[in-house]
Protein backbone atom coordinates (compact mmCIF):
# COMPACT_ATOMS: atom_id res chain seq x y z
CA UNK A 1 0.00 0.00 0.00
CA UNK A 2 2.77 2.40 0.90
CA UNK A 3 4.50 1.48 -2.33
CA UNK A 4 1.40 2.47 -4.22
CA UNK A 5 1.38 5.86 -2.51
CA UNK A 6 4.91 6.56 -3.71
CA UNK A 7 4.77 4.86 -7.10
CA UNK A 8 1.48 6.32 -8.32
CA UNK A 9 2.48 9.98 -7.98
CA UNK A 10 5.96 9.29 -9.38
CA UNK A 11 4.67 7.43 -12.41
CA UNK A 12 1.83 9.83 -13.14
CA UNK A 13 4.06 12.88 -12.70
CA UNK A 14 6.59 11.23 -14.99
CA UNK A 15 3.97 10.64 -17.66
CA UNK A 16 2.48 14.10 -17.26
CA UNK A 17 5.89 15.78 -17.52
CA UNK A 18 6.41 14.15 -20.91
CA UNK A 19 3.39 15.95 -22.32
CA UNK A 20 4.76 19.52 -22.68
CA UNK A 21 7.82 18.47 -24.73
CA UNK A 22 5.59 16.20 -26.81
CA UNK A 23 3.37 19.19 -27.51
CA UNK A 24 6.47 21.15 -28.43
CA UNK A 25 5.70 23.62 -25.62
CA UNK A 26 2.99 25.02 -27.87
CA UNK A 27 1.07 27.47 -25.71
CA UNK A 28 -2.32 26.73 -27.18
CA UNK A 29 -1.90 22.99 -26.75
CA UNK A 30 -0.64 23.51 -23.23
CA UNK A 31 -3.78 25.51 -22.45
CA UNK A 32 -5.94 22.69 -23.74
CA UNK A 33 -3.89 20.13 -21.85
CA UNK A 34 -4.22 22.14 -18.62
CA UNK A 35 -7.97 22.32 -19.05
CA UNK A 36 -8.13 18.58 -19.61
CA UNK A 37 -6.15 18.01 -16.42
CA UNK A 38 -8.44 20.30 -14.45
CA UNK A 39 -11.55 18.50 -15.71
CA UNK A 40 -9.86 15.19 -14.95
CA UNK A 41 -9.11 16.40 -11.42
CA UNK A 42 -12.82 17.02 -10.97
CA UNK A 43 -13.58 13.49 -12.13
CA UNK A 44 -11.07 12.10 -9.67
CA UNK A 45 -12.54 14.21 -6.88
CA UNK A 46 -16.07 13.16 -7.88
CA UNK A 47 -15.02 9.57 -7.35
CA UNK A 48 -14.92 10.29 -3.60
CA UNK A 49 -18.56 11.34 -3.35
CA UNK A 50 -19.94 9.50 -6.37
CA UNK A 51 -17.74 6.43 -6.56
CA UNK A 52 -16.96 5.72 -2.92
CA UNK A 53 -20.02 7.16 -1.17
CA UNK A 54 -22.42 6.38 -4.02
CA UNK A 55 -24.11 9.80 -4.19
CA UNK A 56 -24.87 10.96 -7.74
CA UNK A 57 -23.64 14.48 -7.22
CA UNK A 58 -24.29 17.02 -9.98
CA UNK A 59 -23.03 20.11 -8.19
CA UNK A 60 -19.48 20.18 -9.57
CA UNK A 61 -20.41 23.21 -11.69
CA UNK A 62 -21.41 25.04 -8.51
CA UNK A 63 -18.22 24.34 -6.54
CA UNK A 64 -16.08 25.02 -9.59
CA UNK A 65 -17.88 28.34 -10.04
CA UNK A 66 -17.38 29.23 -6.38
CA UNK A 67 -13.65 28.62 -6.81
CA UNK A 68 -13.64 30.87 -9.88
CA UNK A 69 -15.52 33.69 -8.20
CA UNK A 70 -13.76 33.62 -4.82
CA UNK A 71 -10.28 33.52 -6.34
CA UNK A 72 -11.18 35.97 -9.10
CA UNK A 73 -13.05 38.54 -7.04
CA UNK A 74 -10.51 38.56 -4.20
CA UNK A 75 -7.87 39.29 -6.82
CA UNK A 76 -9.94 41.88 -8.69
CA UNK A 77 -11.35 43.73 -5.68
CA UNK A 78 -8.66 43.39 -3.05
CA UNK A 79 -5.54 42.27 -4.92
CA UNK A 80 -5.43 39.14 -2.79
CA UNK A 81 -2.88 36.80 -4.27
CA UNK A 82 -4.37 33.69 -5.87
CA UNK A 83 -1.92 31.74 -3.73
CA UNK A 84 -4.37 32.45 -0.93
CA UNK A 85 -7.40 32.98 -3.14
CA UNK A 86 -7.37 29.51 -4.64
CA UNK A 87 -7.20 27.97 -1.19
CA UNK A 88 -10.00 30.21 0.09
CA UNK A 89 -12.05 29.29 -2.99
CA UNK A 90 -11.78 25.63 -2.06
CA UNK A 91 -12.68 26.45 1.51
CA UNK A 92 -15.78 28.46 0.60
CA UNK A 93 -16.88 25.69 -1.77
CA UNK A 94 -16.51 23.16 1.05
CA UNK A 95 -18.40 25.41 3.47
CA UNK A 96 -21.23 25.81 1.00
CA UNK A 97 -21.25 22.07 0.45
CA UNK A 98 -21.59 21.45 4.17
CA UNK A 99 -24.30 24.07 4.55
CA UNK A 100 -26.33 22.36 1.82
CA UNK A 101 -25.17 18.84 2.56
CA UNK A 102 -25.96 18.82 6.26
CA UNK A 103 -29.72 19.22 5.86
CA UNK A 104 -29.67 17.15 2.67
CA UNK A 105 -28.22 14.13 4.46
CA UNK A 106 -30.08 14.93 7.66
CA UNK A 107 -33.38 14.64 5.81
CA UNK A 108 -32.23 11.54 4.00
CA UNK A 109 -32.20 12.80 0.40
CA UNK A 110 -30.88 10.10 -1.86
CA UNK A 111 -30.61 9.01 -5.44
CA UNK A 112 -32.83 11.02 -7.80
CA UNK A 113 -33.59 13.75 -5.32
CA UNK A 114 -29.98 14.20 -4.31
CA UNK A 115 -28.97 14.39 -7.97
CA UNK A 116 -31.70 16.92 -8.79
CA UNK A 117 -31.11 19.17 -5.82
CA UNK A 118 -27.37 19.24 -6.49
CA UNK A 119 -28.02 20.16 -10.12
CA UNK A 120 -30.47 22.84 -8.99
CA UNK A 121 -27.69 24.35 -6.88
CA UNK A 122 -25.72 25.14 -10.05
CA UNK A 123 -28.65 27.00 -11.59
CA UNK A 124 -29.41 28.83 -8.34
CA UNK A 125 -25.84 30.11 -8.07
CA UNK A 126 -25.73 31.06 -11.75
CA UNK A 127 -28.87 33.16 -11.46
CA UNK A 128 -27.90 34.54 -8.06
CA UNK A 129 -24.64 35.92 -9.38
CA UNK A 130 -26.44 37.21 -12.46
CA UNK A 131 -28.86 39.21 -10.33
CA UNK A 132 -26.29 40.22 -7.71
CA UNK A 133 -24.85 43.05 -9.76
CA UNK A 134 -22.17 44.20 -7.29
CA UNK A 135 -20.19 40.96 -7.59
CA UNK A 136 -21.59 39.30 -10.71
CA UNK A 137 -23.85 40.84 -13.27
CA UNK A 138 -23.88 40.28 -17.00
CA UNK A 139 -20.55 41.83 -17.89
CA UNK A 140 -17.23 40.01 -17.60
CA UNK A 141 -14.96 41.24 -14.82
CA UNK A 142 -11.34 40.94 -15.88
CA UNK A 143 -8.45 40.06 -13.62
CA UNK A 144 -5.96 42.95 -13.23
CA UNK A 145 -3.01 42.92 -15.60
CA UNK A 146 0.06 42.53 -13.43
CA UNK A 147 2.57 41.04 -15.86
CA UNK A 148 4.68 38.00 -15.11
CA UNK A 149 4.40 37.45 -11.39
CA UNK A 150 4.97 34.46 -9.17
CA UNK A 151 3.21 36.24 -6.35
CA UNK A 152 0.01 36.66 -8.37
CA UNK A 153 0.52 33.40 -10.29
CA UNK A 154 0.30 35.40 -13.51
CA UNK A 155 2.29 34.07 -16.40
CA UNK A 156 1.14 35.95 -19.49
CA UNK A 157 1.66 34.01 -22.66
CA UNK A 158 3.07 30.95 -20.93
CA UNK A 159 0.67 28.18 -20.00
CA UNK A 160 3.41 25.75 -18.96
CA UNK A 161 3.15 26.97 -15.37
CA UNK A 162 -0.62 26.43 -15.32
CA UNK A 163 -0.11 23.05 -16.87
CA UNK A 164 2.24 22.13 -14.02
CA UNK A 165 -0.16 23.46 -11.40
CA UNK A 166 -3.00 21.44 -12.89
CA UNK A 167 -0.84 18.35 -13.10
CA UNK A 168 0.18 18.69 -9.46
CA UNK A 169 -3.42 19.13 -8.37
CA UNK A 170 -4.48 16.07 -10.35
CA UNK A 171 -1.74 13.92 -8.88
CA UNK A 172 -2.52 15.19 -5.39
CA UNK A 173 -6.19 14.31 -5.92
CA UNK A 174 -5.30 10.81 -7.03
CA UNK A 175 -3.10 10.43 -3.95
CA UNK A 176 -6.01 11.60 -1.80
CA UNK A 177 -8.16 8.97 -3.51
CA UNK A 178 -5.68 6.23 -2.70
CA UNK A 179 -5.28 7.43 0.88
CA UNK A 180 -9.02 7.42 1.41
CA UNK A 181 -9.70 4.13 -0.34
CA UNK A 182 -7.44 2.13 1.94
CA UNK A 183 -8.36 3.82 5.20
CA UNK A 184 -11.23 3.75 7.63
CA UNK A 185 -12.92 6.62 5.78
CA UNK A 186 -12.80 4.71 2.49
CA UNK A 187 -14.16 1.49 3.89
CA UNK A 188 -16.90 3.39 5.65
CA UNK A 189 -17.90 5.23 2.47
CA UNK A 190 -17.98 2.01 0.47
CA UNK A 191 -20.11 0.36 3.13
CA UNK A 192 -22.52 3.31 2.98
CA UNK A 193 -22.71 3.01 -0.80
CA UNK A 194 -23.35 -0.72 -0.64
CA UNK A 195 -25.97 -0.72 2.12
CA UNK A 196 -26.76 2.19 4.40
CA UNK A 197 -28.67 0.20 7.02
CA UNK A 198 -25.98 -2.41 7.38
CA UNK A 199 -23.39 0.37 7.61
CA UNK A 200 -25.36 2.07 10.39
CA UNK A 201 -25.49 -1.19 12.31
CA UNK A 202 -21.73 -1.51 12.10
CA UNK A 203 -21.50 1.75 14.04
CA UNK A 204 -21.02 4.12 11.10
CA UNK A 205 -22.46 7.62 11.45
CA UNK A 206 -23.70 7.63 7.87
CA UNK A 207 -24.51 11.33 7.67
CA UNK A 208 -21.18 12.42 9.07
CA UNK A 209 -19.14 10.30 6.66
CA UNK A 210 -21.17 11.39 3.65
CA UNK A 211 -20.43 14.97 4.71
CA UNK A 212 -16.71 14.20 4.91
CA UNK A 213 -16.78 12.86 1.37
CA UNK A 214 -18.75 15.86 0.15
CA UNK A 215 -16.32 18.28 1.84
CA UNK A 216 -13.20 16.77 0.33
CA UNK A 217 -14.77 16.61 -3.12
CA UNK A 218 -16.12 20.16 -3.08
CA UNK A 219 -12.85 21.54 -1.72
CA UNK A 220 -10.85 20.02 -4.59
CA UNK A 221 -13.39 21.13 -7.20
CA UNK A 222 -13.19 24.62 -5.68
CA UNK A 223 -9.42 24.55 -6.20
CA UNK A 224 -9.86 23.67 -9.88
CA UNK A 225 -11.99 26.79 -10.25
CA UNK A 226 -9.20 28.90 -8.79
CA UNK A 227 -6.64 27.67 -11.30
CA UNK A 228 -9.17 27.85 -14.11
CA UNK A 229 -9.90 31.54 -13.59
CA UNK A 230 -6.20 32.42 -13.78
CA UNK A 231 -6.03 30.90 -17.25
CA UNK A 232 -9.33 32.40 -18.34
CA UNK A 233 -8.61 35.89 -17.03
CA UNK A 234 -12.17 36.92 -16.14
CA UNK A 235 -15.21 35.96 -14.08
CA UNK A 236 -18.80 35.72 -15.29
CA UNK A 237 -21.89 34.00 -13.82
CA UNK A 238 -22.18 31.78 -16.87
CA UNK A 239 -19.17 29.93 -15.48
CA UNK A 240 -21.58 28.26 -13.06
CA UNK A 241 -21.97 25.68 -15.76
CA UNK A 242 -24.27 22.69 -15.52
CA UNK A 243 -22.31 21.00 -18.28
CA UNK A 244 -19.31 20.80 -15.91
CA UNK A 245 -21.54 18.88 -13.47
CA UNK A 246 -22.83 16.53 -16.13
CA UNK A 247 -19.46 15.97 -17.76
CA UNK A 248 -17.85 15.16 -14.42
CA UNK A 249 -20.52 12.66 -13.45
CA UNK A 250 -20.55 11.06 -16.91
CA UNK A 251 -16.79 10.53 -16.91
CA UNK A 252 -16.91 9.32 -13.31
CA UNK A 253 -19.54 6.72 -14.13
CA UNK A 254 -17.91 5.63 -17.37
CA UNK A 255 -14.60 5.33 -15.54
CA UNK A 256 -16.19 3.02 -13.00
CA UNK A 257 -17.61 3.89 -9.59
CA UNK A 258 -14.94 3.67 -6.96
CA UNK A 259 -12.14 2.91 -9.40
CA UNK A 260 -9.20 5.20 -8.69
CA UNK A 261 -7.50 4.77 -12.06
CA UNK A 262 -10.59 4.32 -14.25
CA UNK A 263 -12.00 7.84 -13.96
CA UNK A 264 -8.80 9.79 -14.63
CA UNK A 265 -7.67 7.52 -17.47
CA UNK A 266 -11.00 7.58 -19.26
CA UNK A 267 -11.32 11.31 -18.60
CA UNK A 268 -7.96 12.16 -20.16
CA UNK A 269 -8.68 10.01 -23.22
CA UNK A 270 -12.24 11.17 -23.82
CA UNK A 271 -11.51 14.82 -23.08
CA UNK A 272 -8.60 14.76 -25.51
CA UNK A 273 -10.83 13.24 -28.19
CA UNK A 274 -13.51 15.81 -27.32
CA UNK A 275 -11.05 18.68 -27.77
CA UNK A 276 -10.00 17.25 -31.11
CA UNK A 277 -13.64 16.97 -32.22
CA UNK A 278 -14.39 20.47 -31.00
CA UNK A 279 -11.48 21.95 -32.90
CA UNK A 280 -12.03 19.87 -36.03
CA UNK A 281 -15.85 19.89 -36.33
CA UNK A 282 -16.94 22.49 -33.76
CA UNK A 283 -17.70 25.00 -36.51
CA UNK A 284 -20.56 23.08 -38.07
CA UNK A 285 -21.51 20.48 -35.42
CA UNK A 286 -20.99 22.40 -32.19
CA UNK A 287 -22.03 19.69 -29.72
CA UNK A 288 -20.30 16.71 -31.30
CA UNK A 289 -18.09 15.93 -28.30
CA UNK A 290 -21.07 16.03 -25.97
CA UNK A 291 -22.94 13.63 -28.22
CA UNK A 292 -19.92 11.33 -28.09
CA UNK A 293 -19.94 11.47 -24.27
CA UNK A 294 -23.65 10.77 -24.16
CA UNK A 295 -23.44 7.75 -26.43
CA UNK A 296 -20.47 6.27 -24.59
CA UNK A 297 -22.22 6.82 -21.26
CA UNK A 298 -25.39 5.09 -22.40
CA UNK A 299 -23.51 2.18 -23.92
CA UNK A 300 -21.37 1.70 -20.82
CA UNK A 301 -24.29 1.83 -18.40
CA UNK A 302 -26.42 -0.49 -20.51
CA UNK A 303 -23.78 -3.03 -21.43
CA UNK A 304 -20.88 -2.70 -18.99
CA UNK A 305 -22.27 -1.26 -15.76
CA UNK A 306 -18.95 -1.67 -13.94
CA UNK A 307 -17.40 0.97 -16.18
CA UNK A 308 -13.89 0.96 -17.57
CA UNK A 309 -12.57 0.72 -14.03
CA UNK A 310 -13.79 -2.83 -13.63
CA UNK A 311 -11.86 -3.88 -16.70
CA UNK A 312 -8.78 -1.99 -15.53
CA UNK A 313 -9.02 -3.58 -12.10
CA UNK A 314 -9.24 -7.10 -13.46
CA UNK A 315 -6.31 -6.35 -15.77
CA UNK A 316 -4.35 -5.14 -12.77
CA UNK A 317 -5.37 -8.28 -10.88
CA UNK A 318 -4.12 -10.45 -13.70
CA UNK A 319 -0.79 -8.64 -13.85
CA UNK A 320 -0.24 -8.79 -10.10
CA UNK A 321 -1.38 -12.41 -9.98
CA UNK A 322 1.22 -13.35 -12.59
CA UNK A 323 3.88 -11.50 -10.66
CA UNK A 324 2.84 -13.41 -7.56
CA UNK A 325 3.39 -16.68 -9.41
CA UNK A 326 6.85 -15.67 -10.55
CA UNK A 327 7.85 -14.93 -6.98
CA UNK A 328 6.54 -18.29 -5.88
Amino acid sequence: MDRRLILTPLISLGVLSLVPPLLGFNNYYLLLASLILLYTTMVSAWNIIGGFAGQVDLAAGAYHGIGIFVTGLLFIFYRVTPLIGIFLGGLVAALLAVAIGYPTFRFGLREVWYALSSLALVVILYKLFLVWESVGGTIERYLPKVGFSWFYLMFPGNYLYYYLMSALLLVATIVVNIRIRYSKLGYYLLAIRENEEAAEMLGIDVRRYKLYALMIYSFIVGLTGGIFVLMLGYVHPVLFDSWISIQTAILGIVGGLGSIAGGPIIAVILLAIAEYLRVRFGGYIPGLHQILFAIILMLIVLFKPGGIGEWLDSLWHRITARRGMEVA
Partner: protein
Protein backbone atom coordinates in the same frame (compact mmCIF):
# COMPACT_ATOMS: atom_id res chain seq x y z
CA UNK B 1 -28.04 -13.89 39.55
CA UNK B 2 -26.28 -12.09 36.67
CA UNK B 3 -27.51 -8.61 35.95
CA UNK B 4 -29.48 -8.01 32.77
CA UNK B 5 -27.54 -6.56 29.86
CA UNK B 6 -30.75 -5.72 28.03
CA UNK B 7 -34.09 -4.69 29.47
CA UNK B 8 -37.11 -4.17 27.26
CA UNK B 9 -39.83 -2.41 29.22
CA UNK B 10 -43.39 -2.11 27.98
CA UNK B 11 -42.48 -1.44 24.37
CA UNK B 12 -45.38 -0.62 22.04
CA UNK B 13 -44.89 0.02 18.34
CA UNK B 14 -47.69 0.83 15.92
CA UNK B 15 -47.72 1.14 12.14
CA UNK B 16 -50.81 3.09 11.26
CA UNK B 17 -53.65 1.04 12.68
CA UNK B 18 -51.57 -2.08 13.17
CA UNK B 19 -50.03 -2.69 16.57
CA UNK B 20 -46.83 -4.56 15.79
CA UNK B 21 -45.67 -4.72 19.41
CA UNK B 22 -47.97 -4.43 22.38
CA UNK B 23 -46.36 -3.63 25.73
CA UNK B 24 -43.60 -6.19 25.39
CA UNK B 25 -41.28 -6.55 28.38
CA UNK B 26 -38.43 -8.93 29.08
CA UNK B 27 -34.85 -9.03 30.30
CA UNK B 28 -31.78 -10.63 28.84
CA UNK B 29 -29.12 -11.65 31.37
CA UNK B 30 -25.49 -11.10 30.56
CA UNK B 31 -23.99 -14.24 29.07
CA UNK B 32 -27.28 -15.88 28.12
CA UNK B 33 -28.57 -17.19 24.82
CA UNK B 34 -32.17 -16.23 24.53
CA UNK B 35 -34.56 -17.18 21.76
CA UNK B 36 -37.48 -15.14 20.51
CA UNK B 37 -39.93 -17.06 18.40
CA UNK B 38 -43.34 -16.61 16.92
CA UNK B 39 -45.25 -17.09 13.70
CA UNK B 40 -44.85 -14.80 10.74
CA UNK B 41 -45.99 -11.29 11.51
CA UNK B 42 -45.63 -11.72 15.26
CA UNK B 43 -43.45 -8.60 15.53
CA UNK B 44 -40.05 -10.19 16.00
CA UNK B 45 -38.11 -8.15 13.50
CA UNK B 46 -39.92 -5.00 14.65
CA UNK B 47 -38.65 -5.76 18.14
CA UNK B 48 -35.06 -5.94 16.87
CA UNK B 49 -35.55 -2.73 14.93
CA UNK B 50 -36.69 -1.01 18.11
CA UNK B 51 -33.78 -2.36 20.17
CA UNK B 52 -31.20 -1.31 17.56
CA UNK B 53 -32.65 2.16 17.04
CA UNK B 54 -34.05 1.80 13.52
CA UNK B 55 -37.54 2.37 14.91
CA UNK B 56 -38.76 4.53 17.76
CA UNK B 57 -41.43 2.92 19.94
CA UNK B 58 -44.59 4.82 20.82
CA UNK B 59 -44.35 3.65 24.41
CA UNK B 60 -41.85 1.98 26.67
CA UNK B 61 -38.09 1.94 26.66
CA UNK B 62 -35.07 -0.18 25.96
CA UNK B 63 -32.27 -0.20 28.52
CA UNK B 64 -28.90 -1.53 27.48
CA UNK B 65 -26.18 -1.97 30.06
CA UNK B 66 -27.96 0.42 32.42
CA UNK B 67 -28.43 3.17 29.80
CA UNK B 68 -31.71 4.05 28.14
CA UNK B 69 -31.08 3.72 24.42
CA UNK B 70 -34.55 4.37 23.01
CA UNK B 71 -34.33 7.18 20.50
CA UNK B 72 -30.60 6.87 19.91
CA UNK B 73 -29.53 6.33 16.28
CA UNK B 74 -28.38 2.82 15.35
CA UNK B 75 -24.72 3.76 15.03
CA UNK B 76 -24.62 5.04 18.60
CA UNK B 77 -26.20 1.85 19.86
CA UNK B 78 -23.76 -0.21 17.81
CA UNK B 79 -20.89 1.77 19.33
CA UNK B 80 -22.14 0.83 22.82
CA UNK B 81 -21.70 -2.84 21.96
CA UNK B 82 -24.86 -4.06 20.24
CA UNK B 83 -24.41 -5.87 16.93
CA UNK B 84 -26.96 -7.54 14.72
CA UNK B 85 -27.53 -9.56 11.61
CA UNK B 86 -30.51 -9.07 9.33
CA UNK B 87 -33.39 -11.36 8.42
CA UNK B 88 -32.88 -10.58 4.76
CA UNK B 89 -29.12 -10.40 4.38
CA UNK B 90 -27.73 -6.96 3.66
CA UNK B 91 -24.47 -7.75 1.94
CA UNK B 92 -21.87 -5.42 0.44
CA UNK B 93 -21.86 -6.89 -3.10
CA UNK B 94 -18.85 -4.93 -4.39
CA UNK B 95 -16.67 -5.48 -1.33
CA UNK B 96 -14.65 -8.59 -0.61
CA UNK B 97 -15.39 -10.62 2.50
CA UNK B 98 -12.23 -9.30 4.10
CA UNK B 99 -13.21 -5.70 3.35
CA UNK B 100 -16.72 -6.20 4.69
CA UNK B 101 -15.32 -7.53 7.96
CA UNK B 102 -12.82 -4.66 8.00
CA UNK B 103 -15.69 -2.17 7.97
CA UNK B 104 -16.88 -3.70 11.22
CA UNK B 105 -13.43 -3.91 12.75
CA UNK B 106 -12.77 -0.16 12.55
CA UNK B 107 -15.39 0.50 15.21
CA UNK B 108 -13.27 -0.44 18.20
CA UNK B 109 -9.76 -0.81 16.80
CA UNK B 110 -7.14 1.79 17.66
CA UNK B 111 -4.94 1.40 14.59
CA UNK B 112 -4.59 -0.46 11.30
CA UNK B 113 -2.58 -3.22 12.92
CA UNK B 114 -5.38 -3.95 15.33
CA UNK B 115 -7.88 -3.87 12.47
CA UNK B 116 -5.86 -6.51 10.65
CA UNK B 117 -5.72 -8.64 13.78
CA UNK B 118 -9.46 -8.42 14.34
CA UNK B 119 -10.17 -9.29 10.71
CA UNK B 120 -7.86 -12.32 10.75
CA UNK B 121 -9.23 -13.46 14.08
CA UNK B 122 -12.90 -13.13 13.11
CA UNK B 123 -12.48 -14.74 9.69
CA UNK B 124 -10.82 -17.70 11.33
CA UNK B 125 -13.37 -17.88 14.14
CA UNK B 126 -16.28 -17.96 11.72
CA UNK B 127 -14.41 -20.28 9.41
CA UNK B 128 -14.55 -18.23 6.22
CA UNK B 129 -10.87 -17.48 5.79
CA UNK B 130 -10.92 -19.22 2.43
CA UNK B 131 -13.51 -16.70 1.21
CA UNK B 132 -11.38 -13.71 2.19
CA UNK B 133 -10.92 -12.33 -1.34
CA UNK B 134 -14.32 -13.23 -2.72
CA UNK B 135 -16.75 -10.42 -3.49
CA UNK B 136 -20.11 -10.22 -1.76
CA UNK B 137 -21.88 -10.70 -5.09
CA UNK B 138 -20.14 -14.05 -5.56
CA UNK B 139 -21.35 -15.63 -2.33
CA UNK B 140 -24.22 -18.04 -1.73
CA UNK B 141 -26.73 -17.68 1.09
CA UNK B 142 -24.85 -19.51 3.85
CA UNK B 143 -21.63 -17.68 2.96
CA UNK B 144 -23.48 -14.36 3.07
CA UNK B 145 -24.95 -15.19 6.46
CA UNK B 146 -21.56 -16.19 7.85
CA UNK B 147 -20.01 -13.01 6.47
CA UNK B 148 -22.73 -11.00 8.13
CA UNK B 149 -22.02 -12.71 11.45
CA UNK B 150 -18.30 -12.09 10.99
CA UNK B 151 -18.95 -8.43 10.18
CA UNK B 152 -21.03 -8.09 13.33
CA UNK B 153 -18.43 -9.87 15.50
CA UNK B 154 -15.71 -7.57 14.20
CA UNK B 155 -17.37 -4.66 16.00
CA UNK B 156 -16.55 -6.54 19.21
CA UNK B 157 -20.07 -6.52 20.57
CA UNK B 158 -21.26 -7.56 24.00
CA UNK B 159 -24.73 -8.32 22.74
CA UNK B 160 -25.41 -9.96 19.38
CA UNK B 161 -28.89 -9.97 17.88
CA UNK B 162 -29.35 -12.63 15.23
CA UNK B 163 -32.43 -12.27 13.03
CA UNK B 164 -33.49 -15.58 11.45
CA UNK B 165 -30.08 -16.99 10.80
CA UNK B 166 -31.22 -20.32 9.42
CA UNK B 167 -34.16 -19.54 7.13
CA UNK B 168 -33.46 -21.11 3.78
CA UNK B 169 -30.50 -23.19 4.93
CA UNK B 170 -30.02 -26.96 4.70
CA UNK B 171 -29.95 -29.10 7.86
CA UNK B 172 -26.16 -29.43 7.69
CA UNK B 173 -25.77 -25.69 7.39
CA UNK B 174 -28.14 -25.20 10.31
CA UNK B 175 -25.96 -27.44 12.50
CA UNK B 176 -23.01 -25.30 11.52
CA UNK B 177 -24.82 -22.14 12.64
CA UNK B 178 -25.94 -23.75 15.92
CA UNK B 179 -22.40 -24.64 16.78
CA UNK B 180 -21.28 -21.14 15.83
CA UNK B 181 -23.83 -19.51 18.14
CA UNK B 182 -22.67 -21.69 21.05
CA UNK B 183 -19.07 -20.80 20.38
CA UNK B 184 -19.81 -17.09 20.09
CA UNK B 185 -21.53 -17.28 23.45
CA UNK B 186 -19.01 -19.44 25.27
CA UNK B 187 -15.66 -18.51 23.78
CA UNK B 188 -16.34 -14.82 23.21
CA UNK B 189 -18.59 -14.16 26.20
CA UNK B 190 -21.16 -12.53 23.98
CA UNK B 191 -24.79 -12.47 25.01
CA UNK B 192 -26.89 -13.72 22.10
CA UNK B 193 -30.48 -12.94 21.27
CA UNK B 194 -31.94 -15.04 18.46
CA UNK B 195 -35.07 -14.53 16.45
CA UNK B 196 -36.30 -17.69 14.85
CA UNK B 197 -39.29 -18.98 13.14
CA UNK B 198 -38.27 -22.61 13.19
CA UNK B 199 -38.73 -23.88 16.73
CA UNK B 200 -36.50 -26.88 16.25
CA UNK B 201 -33.49 -24.65 15.85
CA UNK B 202 -34.15 -22.46 18.82
CA UNK B 203 -34.76 -25.46 21.09
CA UNK B 204 -31.26 -26.68 20.52
CA UNK B 205 -29.63 -23.36 21.22
CA UNK B 206 -31.25 -21.35 23.94
CA UNK B 207 -31.94 -22.02 27.59
CA UNK B 208 -34.81 -19.59 27.66
CA UNK B 209 -37.30 -18.57 25.02
CA UNK B 210 -39.86 -15.86 24.57
CA UNK B 211 -42.84 -16.43 22.30
CA UNK B 212 -44.42 -13.50 20.53
CA UNK B 213 -47.80 -13.68 18.87
CA UNK B 214 -49.58 -10.73 17.27
CA UNK B 215 -47.15 -8.38 18.95
CA UNK B 216 -47.69 -9.71 22.45
CA UNK B 217 -45.49 -11.84 24.63
CA UNK B 218 -47.50 -15.00 25.24
CA UNK B 219 -44.81 -17.14 26.81
CA UNK B 220 -41.48 -16.88 28.53
CA UNK B 221 -39.59 -19.81 29.99
CA UNK B 222 -37.76 -23.03 29.22
CA UNK B 223 -38.13 -24.40 25.69
CA UNK B 224 -39.49 -27.76 26.92
CA UNK B 225 -42.27 -25.97 28.72
CA UNK B 226 -43.27 -24.17 25.56
CA UNK B 227 -44.44 -27.43 24.01
CA UNK B 228 -46.86 -27.95 26.83
CA UNK B 229 -48.15 -24.41 26.79
CA UNK B 230 -51.67 -24.12 25.42
CA UNK B 231 -51.20 -20.58 24.08
CA UNK B 232 -48.01 -21.48 22.23
CA UNK B 233 -49.50 -24.55 20.59
CA UNK B 234 -52.52 -22.54 19.59
CA UNK B 235 -50.35 -19.83 18.10
CA UNK B 236 -48.43 -22.34 16.05
CA UNK B 237 -50.90 -24.99 15.11
CA UNK B 238 -54.05 -22.97 15.29
CA UNK B 239 -57.04 -23.71 17.41
CA UNK B 240 -58.22 -27.29 17.26
CA UNK B 241 -61.84 -27.21 16.36
CA UNK B 242 -64.29 -29.90 17.34
Amino acid sequence: MPKPILEVRGVTKRFGGLTALNRVSFNVEEGAIIGIIGPNGAGKTTLFNVITGFLKPEEGKVIYDGHTVTGLPPHRIARMGVARTFQIVKPFPELTVEEAVRVGAYLKAEDEGEVNNIVDDVLEFVGIEHLRDRYGKELNLIQLKLTEIARALATRPRLLLVDEAVAGLTPGEIDNIIEMVHRINRERNITVCLIEHIMRFIMRVSERIIVLHHGEKIFEGKPEEAYEDEAVIKAYLGERRI
